[in-house]
C-alpha cells in the first residue's frame, strides 16, 4: 500500500517537516518498532559508504588558450591524462599511476588535490593544426581556474564484494591491500548491510537520474556501472552473494571536499580513490523499510584465495558481514583475523551528513528517469584462437 510519493516527501522537505533516519538508525529501531510503524513515521532513509573506488575519474575542460591548443598528450602533476576528446578536454583516471619515479601517487591524488583547491601542474603537448596553432602549454591549474571540473565514475557503489585471503606462502600485494601468507589476514571491502545497494537489492528505488551524495557534494546516478551484474546469485532476502550491481556516477567536483575524496595507494598494486557516496531512499511504502531492515547477520560475501591468480579464484565459502565485523572468521577450519577496507566510520558519517542535509532542506529527492537493467548477463573476455 503506497504511503507517500516522492513529490509529497519533497514538499515535506521544503516545509522542514520531513523525518529522516540513517539506515543504521533504522536497523537499530525496526526490531522494537516493527516495519509498519517505522514506515508510517519515516519519510526518507539515508545510506552511505566510503571505500576505494578505482573506477573513478575526473573530467576537466581547461578553458581554451590564446592562441588555441588541441591537446594530444597531457600530464597533471606527472600523471598522464587522456586527451582524445575535444581540444581542451581532459580526463584523468583514479588508478592511473604517475610517470615520476619512486612516487606512490596517481590520478586519485591529483583528483584529491584539485578537489581540495590545491594547484596542480599541467603539461600539455599540442597537435598543431591551422585552427589550433599552439604547440604546447605548461601552467598550473586549480579548481577555480579550470572552466569545468566534474567526476564521472564508470563504476562505483558495488552491491557487495568479495573477501580476500591468501593461502600461499608469500605476501600478496592486491587491490585489497597486503594479504599475508598462510591465511594471515582476511580483507573485506564492502560495509555490508550499510552498503547503499544492499538496502535496495533489486534496484527498485534507484535508477538513472537519482540524486545522491557524491564526495561531499551532489551527484547523480548516470548509468549502469561497468561490470554491472544484477543476475548474481542471491539469498532469499534478495541480497547478492558476491559482486553484483554497480552504477556510474557523475557530479560537480567543485562542490566536493575532504574527507570525502581522498587519493590512496596500495603498495605494489597502484593508486586509487577513496570516495564517500550516499543514497537516499524515499519510504514510498513498507517494502522500503523491509529491505532497509536487512542486518549484517543476513548478508554474506565469498572468501576468495588470491594465491590463485585467475579470473575465477577458488572460494572458501560464504561468511556473513556480522562475522567479518566481529574481527575473526573461520577459513578452512582456522581462525583468521579480518580487517575492512571500507571505512565503516566514514560510511556512517556519509549517511548522517545526507540525513542532515535533507532535514535542513538543502537536498531534495528525485525520481529515476529510467530503471537500471536488472537482467544483464556478464560477458567475460575469453581469448579465442
Amino acid at each position: 500500500m503506497p504511503l507517500r510519493t516522492v513529490a509529497e516527501i519533497n514538499e515535506k522537505i521544503d516545509r522542514g517537516q520531513v523525518t529522516v533516519w540513517t539506515v543504521a538508525e533504522l536497523k537499530q529501531r525496526v526490531g522494537e518498532w516493527g516495519i509498519r510503524r517505522c514506515a508510517e513515521t519515516v519519510d526518507v532513509v539515508t545510506t552511505g559508504t566510503y571505500e576505494p573506488m578505482e573506477a573513478s575519474a575526473a573530467v576537466l575542460n581547461i578553458g581554451q588558450t590564446d592562441p588555441p591548443l588541441k591537446i594530444r598528450q597531457a600530464w597533471l602533476d606527472g600523471v598522464p591524462a587522456y586527451a582524445g576528446f575535444g581540444a581542451a578536454d581532459l580526463m584523468i583516471g583514479a588508478s592511473q599511476p604517475t610517470e615520476a619515479e619512486d612516487q606512490e601517487r596517481g590520478g586519485g591524488h591529483v583528483i584529491e588535490a584539485l578537489v581540495d583547491g590545491r594547484a596542480v601542474a599541467l603539461r600539455a603537448v599540442g597537435y598543431q593544426t591551422d585552427c589550433y596553432p599552439r604547440a604546447s602549454l605548461e601552467t598550473t591549474l586549480t579548481r577555480e581556474t579550470v572552466n569545468q571540473f566534474y567526476l564521472y565514475n564508470p563504476r562505483n557503489l558495488y552491491q557487495n564484494f568479495i573477501v580476500g585471503v591468501n593461502g600461499g606462502e608469500r605476501t600478496l600485494y592486491t587491490y585489497l591491500g597486503p594479504l599475508l601468507p598462510q591465511l594471515g589476514n582476511a580483507v573485506y571491502a564492502s560495509p555490508g548491510a550499510l552498503a547503499p545497494l544492499m538496502n535496495d537489492p533489486d534496484l527498485t528505488w534507484v535508477g538513472i537520474g537519482t540524486r545522491i551524495f557524491l564526495g561531499g557534494g551532489e551527484g547523480y546516478i548516470a548509468w549502469e556501472g561497468t561490470q554491472h551484474f544484477p543476475l548474481q546469485k542471491r539469498l532469499e532476502n534478495r541480497t547478492p552473494v558476491g559482486p553484483a550491481a554497480t552504477v556510474a556516477l557523475i557530479g560537480d567536483a567543485r562542490s566536493m571536499g575532504r574527507p570525502w575524496v581522498r587519493g590512496c595507494y596500495f603498495k605494489h598494486y597502484g593508486p586509487s580513490l577513496m570516495l564517500g557516496v550516499g543514497v537516499p531512499f524515499p519510504v514510498v511504502d513498507e517494502t522500503v523499510i523491509a529491505a532497509c531492515a536487512v542486518r549484517d547477520e543476513e548478508v554474506v560475501a565469498p572468501v576468495m584465495d588470491f594465491a590463485i591468480p585467475r579470473r575465477v579464484r577458488p572460494s572458501f565459502g560464504l561468511v556473513t558481514y556480522a562475522q567479518l565485523k566481529s574481527g575473526r572468521i573461520t577459513v578452512d577450519g582456522r581462525p583468521v583475523r579480518t580487517a575492512p577496507l571500507a571505512s565503516l566510520h566514514l560510511s556512517l558519517k556519509v549517511a548522517e551528513t545526507l540525513r542532515d542535509w535533507i532535514a535542513a532542506g538543502r537536498f531534495r529527492l528525485t525520481e529515476p528517469v529510467a530503471a537500471l537493467p536488472r537482467d544483464r548477463t556478464f560477458l567475460a573476455q575469453d581469448v579465442v584462437g
Partner: protein, 134 residues
C-alpha cells in the same frame, strides 16, 4: 628470545661488519628493520636480535665496548589523525592488536603500549597516515 634495539655507530665503527660478528661470535641473528649507514658518517641501525638470552646479553655488552650506543626504545609509530580515514586495513596486519577498530564508532584505536614497532602498518596504510622516523 628477541630484542629490538637501535644501534648508533660512531664514525670510526661504521667499517666494522657488526652483524657478521654478532652471528659468528654470539650466534645472534640480527634482522635489520631499518638502516642508515654511509662511509665516515654516524650510522643508525634498527635491528631485531634473536638468540639465547645469555648470548644476547653478551652481544649487547660487546656492542657497548665497541662504542656503539644502544637504544632499547626505538621510535614510536605515529598516526596522523588529519589524514587517517579509519578504513582499518592496518588492523589486519598488526601482529599485537595494538591497532584495532572501536566496535561502536568504528574509529581506529592505537594502543601504544602494545606496539612492537614492527612497522607492517606503514606500507599497508593507503593514505600514508602512519609513520615513524629515525
Amino acid at each position: 628470545m628477541k630484542k629490538r634495539v637501535t644501534l648508533t655507530f660512531p664514525r670510526q665503527v661504521v667499517q666494522m661488519p657488526v652483524t657478521y660478528r654478532l652471528a659468528k661470535d654470539f650466534n645472534v641473528a640480527a634482522n635489520i628493520i631499518r638502516a642508515q649507514v654511509a662511509p665516515n658518517q654516524v650510522g643508525k641501525l634498527v635491528v631485531e636480535l634473536s638468540g639465547d638470552i645469555d648470548q644476547l646479553e653478551a652481544a649487547l655488552d660487546w656492542l657497548g665496548q665497541q662504542g656503539i650506543e644502544i637504544g632499547l626504545t626505538s621510535r614510536e609509530i605515529t598516526i596522523d589523525e588529519e589524514s587517517c580515514v579509519h578504513c582499518g586495513l592496518c588492523t589486519g596486519v598488526c601482529p599485537t592488536q595494538a591497532l584495532t577498530l572501536d566496535k561502536h564508532t568504528w574509529l581506529l584505536n592505537f594502543a601504544r603500549s602494545r606496539c612492537i614497532v614492527c612497522e607492517q602498518c606503514i606500507p599497508t596504510c593507503p593514505v600514508v597516515a602512519i609513520s615513524t622516523q629515525f
